[in-house]
């Protein structure tokens, strides 16, 4: 049963847990004894969202109310800010579907905004891109430290479509940001990037599944993480190349810094290949900050704390640099810097 269905049925036993292979590091069943009451409607003041200034329109969903559907007409170009807000300690699920039609262009600036409540939130997103359509999705996930949040996006691309995504998160009590892409090949392009910056006892799980079904598909993936205190970062990336999906080019990288003795990083970069004319690779590194680089910086007169911040920012900065939308890139950089230094 899906997370959304478990919330609806208020059946905690139906939540995925560590016995489900794809959820082994994000155990919801073991964490949640009972699904909370459905969240009440919220009519207080929300305050501004992180992308308000950049978007032509702002769509706000509070506590899972209202299903949202957005259509970008052929050849139309839109910039939409999507705010998914959780308030209080209830359970809620939201559903968002977006169609970008032939040749359309969408910049989706998505934010998850939680409070201090112990909420359980699920967001289901369905994105469908027509031929030659393009979409850049930038996600800033700022859930509360007590919240449990699951976001599940399903992306379908037509031939020649381009989808690019950058997800940044500071985690939650337990959080999963999942993206599943059906890649048709045919010169469609896909970029899936992510950053997790975790401290305290926070947890974040970035999971992606990309299935290449046709020839000439390209996928590029880069995820970076910084964990400190007793935080736990999870990365699961799966690339599937179906039989006949020749000339697929898929690259995946995951690199994490562990900055304390009690933090944890778990990773599973998977390649499942059923075609022979492909070029697929993944790289994964986990470790501490480079002592040599740190020494070099200190030797040049930079105080240790400053040097550490610089190196960490540079480490994460590589992901932010890949964002195409300039103004959003600046927001993301500032957002990350604030959290790394904070």
């Amino acid at each position: 049963m899906s997370v959304a269905a478990a919330i609806k049925a208020r059946d905690a036993a139906a939540l995925p847990g560590k016995r489900d292979e794809d959820w082994r590091w994000t155990d919801l069943r073991g964490l949640i004894r009972a699904v909370p009451e459905p969240s009440a409607a919220f009519d207080g003041e929300l305050g501004p969202g992180p992308f308000d200034a950049l978007a032509g329109e702002v769509v706000t969903i509070v506590n899972g109310r209202d299903a949202v559907h957005i259509t970008v007409e052929p050849a139309q170009s839109r910039t939409v800010a999507l705010r998914i807000v959780s308030r209080g300690s209830g359970a809620h699920a939201a559903r968002i579907s977006i169609d970008v039609e032939v040749g359309g262009r969408l910049i989706l600036l998505e934010s998850y905004e939680g409070d201090e409540g112990g909420y359980l939130s699920q967001t289901g997103l369905v994105f469908s891109l027509g031929e030659g359509a393009s979409m850049e999705r930038i996600v800033l996930a700022a859930d509360g430290a007590e919240g449990v949040s699951v976001s599940q996006a399903e992306v379908t691309l037509a031939a020649g479509a381009a989808f690019a995504q950058t997800t940044l998160t500071t985690g939650a009590r337990r959080q999963r940001l999942e993206t599943t892409v059906a890649h048709p090949g045919g010169h469609a392009e896909l970029r899936l990037d992510g950053v997790y910056l975790l401290s305290g006892k926070r947890h974040a799980d970035l999971t992606t599944v990309v299935t290449h079904a046709g020839v000439d598909g390209v996928t590029a993936q880069l995820t970076k993480g910084v964990v400190r205190d007793q935080a736990r970062g999870v990365f699961q990336g799966r690339i599937v190349v179906a039989e006949g999906a020749d000339r697929t080019d898929a690259r995946m990288g995951h690199h994490a810094l562990i900055l304390s003795d009690r933090a944890e990083v778990d990773a599973r970069p998977e390649l499942l290949i059923h075609a022979d004319d492909v070029s697929c690779a993944h790289g994964n590194t986990v470790g501490a900050l480079d002592e040599d680089a740190l020494f070099y910086a200190r030797q040049r007169g930079i105080p240790e704390a400053e040097a550490r911040a610089l190196l960490t920012e540079a480490f994460v900065g590589e992901v932010a640099d890949r964002i195409a939308h300039e103004a959003a890139r600046d927001v993301v950089r500032a957002w990350a810097a604030e959290r790394l230094r904070g």
Partner: protein, 489 residues
């Protein structure tokens, strides 16, 4: 689970024959099926002490409560555990009378590997051929005695597991099941209940074993294949290199092989374990009749600065499902895993390793080369984990897969769990096919298509081959080429 329920019922129905089989020691093989009586029969047949029987019975009890795992990327029809023999594999079917009756394909392979005629007879199980491979190889019993004498002088114990249970019970009691606990997994548990035989090696403190030990040399090697149990202990500062298997395809009538191999390395000890596995892969078109190789292999680097190195060349079996692992417990201990897994035809392999870093400054290195051809499927599955206490742990992993043909599959499924800030883990994986440019270059220099592929493949697996003991490496290289025959069109 149906099979377990059936077994339970079967046992219940046998209740009234409780003492029936135990006394009939004259019988040559255990009755078909698996029950408590089968376990008692095996133990009695091998003249085992009471504690060993008890150990087996407890294992059997636990096995009944376990479920067969299904998570591997392999598919096969359900195994009916009541439809096989668990002791002294059926002798009802006689082997071929002479080499003329042996499958010409197998003979052809022997020829390519350069195996002497008399040895071929042994491998093919020809009736009346010598019992011990060593006789065939060196044509003299004196070799056996020489090497026995030399080992005895060094104080190395190298014997069959049954002999060890009788002669060295204190060592067996201390170490058996201490690396792979009885209820570790379904197949290991089954093995604990019904294991037939295997090797036992003990190298005393400070001794460097004077020769490479091999199952090839082991007396009583016959009929120990199906549920083999091997235990190797390297005491403080000792060194031993052990070779398992054989490059030549062996004749074998047991479809399910569930062996358990346990290695224990104490302070400063080193164990090098090399495997070449080339069991019958089944019909290339349908995959029928091939061996299922479900093995549990694990090393415990118990001592500080101990080291275990696994090297494997897997080319046979219809299904290979194994993960030779290292538990790096001792401070500064290190583990290595070098693997070549080749699948062709309808073969399926799900193999890899686990490096579990528990102690400080532990190191591990994984080099895995997978080649899939035909309609086969080849999966690397591995785990590298660092415990919070494993400060300064380091791992380097490289998994490369090569695809030959349109209908094969290659999967890479690594798990990485880092639980402290001073561990450094690096992992790289690539999946590609043979480079057209390199093939063209080799062809242009006058090599045939097949030779060119062999050359490139040997280059691809070179990093692992050079870890094998010399004589093994030469044969393994030929074997790699033979395994891929017919896959290049």
């Amino acid at each position: 689970m149906a099979a377990v329920k059936q077994t339970v019922e079967h046992v219940a129905s046998l209740e009234k024959y409780k003492h029936g089989f135990v006394t009939e020691i004259e019988q040559d093989f255990a009755p078909k099926g698996l029950s408590e009586d089968t376990v008692r029969f095996i133990s009695a047949k091998k003249d085992e002490p009471a504690w060993m029987l008890q150990w087996r019975l407890e294992a059997y009890e636990r096995w009944l409560a376990m479920e067969e795992p299904t998570w591997a990327k392999v598919s096969f029809p359900r195994i009916d555990y009541q439809d096989s023999y668990y002791y002294a594999a059926p002798k009802t079917k006689e082997g071929p009378k002479s080499l003329d009756e042996v499958d010409p394909d197998i003979l052809e392979t022997y020829k390519k590997l350069g195996i002497p005629l008399r040895e071929q007879e042994v491998l093919a199980g020809v009736v009346g051929s010598p019992k011990y491979a060593v006789d065939a190889v060196f044509d003299s019993v004196s070799v056996v005695t020489t090497f026995k004498k030399e080992l005895a002088q060094a104080g190395v114990i190298f014997c069959s597991m049954s002999e060890a249970i009788r002669e060295h019970p204190e060592l067996v009691k201390q170490y058996l099941g201490s690396v792979v606990p009885v209820s570790d997994n379904y197949f290991a548990c089954l093995n604990a209940a019904v294991f037939s035989d295997g090797s036992f090696v003990y190298v005393p403190p400070g001794v460097r074993c004077p020769m490479e030990l091999s199952t090839y040399f082991r007396i009583n090697a016959e009929n120990s294949g199906q549920f083999e149990r091997t235990l190797i202990i390297a005491d403080k500062g000792a060194y031993v290199s052990y070779l398992e298997g054989c490059t030549a395809p062996m004749r074998d009538e047991n479809q399910l092989h569930a062996a358990v191999v346990e290695l224990v390395a104490l302070d400063d000890a080193e164990i090098k374990y090399s495997t070449v596995q080339n069991w019958y892969p089944g019909d290339p078109e349908t995959g029928k009749g091939g061996i299922y190789n479900f093995v549990t292999k694990r090393a415990d680097c118990r001592g500080d600065r101990s080291k275990v190195s696994w090297t494997q060349v897997e080319t046979g079996s219809a299904i290979t499902w194994k993960y030779p692992s290292c538990v790096l417990r001792g401070e500064g201990s290190s583990g290595e895993f070098y693997s070549i897994a080749i699948t062709n035809g309808r073969q399926q392999a799900d193999t890899g390793t686990k490096m579990i870093h528990l102690g400080a400054n532990t190191r591990s290195r994984i080099i895995s080369k997978g080649i899939s051809a035909g309609k086969s499927s080849n999966t690397y599955r591995g785990l590298v984990s660092a415990h919070p206490k494993a400060k300064g742990a380091r791992n380097f992993t490289q998994c490369d897969s090569l695809l030959i043909g349109k209908h094969c599959a290659a999967h890479t499924v690594p798990y990485i769990e880092a639980r402290n800030g001073q561990a450094v883990f690096e992992h790289e994986a690539t999946t590609t096919r043979l480079s057209e440019d390199q093939l063209f270059y080799a062809r242009q220099r006058g090599l045939s298509q097949e030779e060119a592929v062999q050359l490139l493949v040997n280059g691809f697996v070179k990093d692992v081959l050079q870890e094998l003991p010399m004589e093994f490496a030469v044969e393994a290289q030929k074997l790699v080429a033979i395994s891929l025959e017919g896959s290049v069109g």
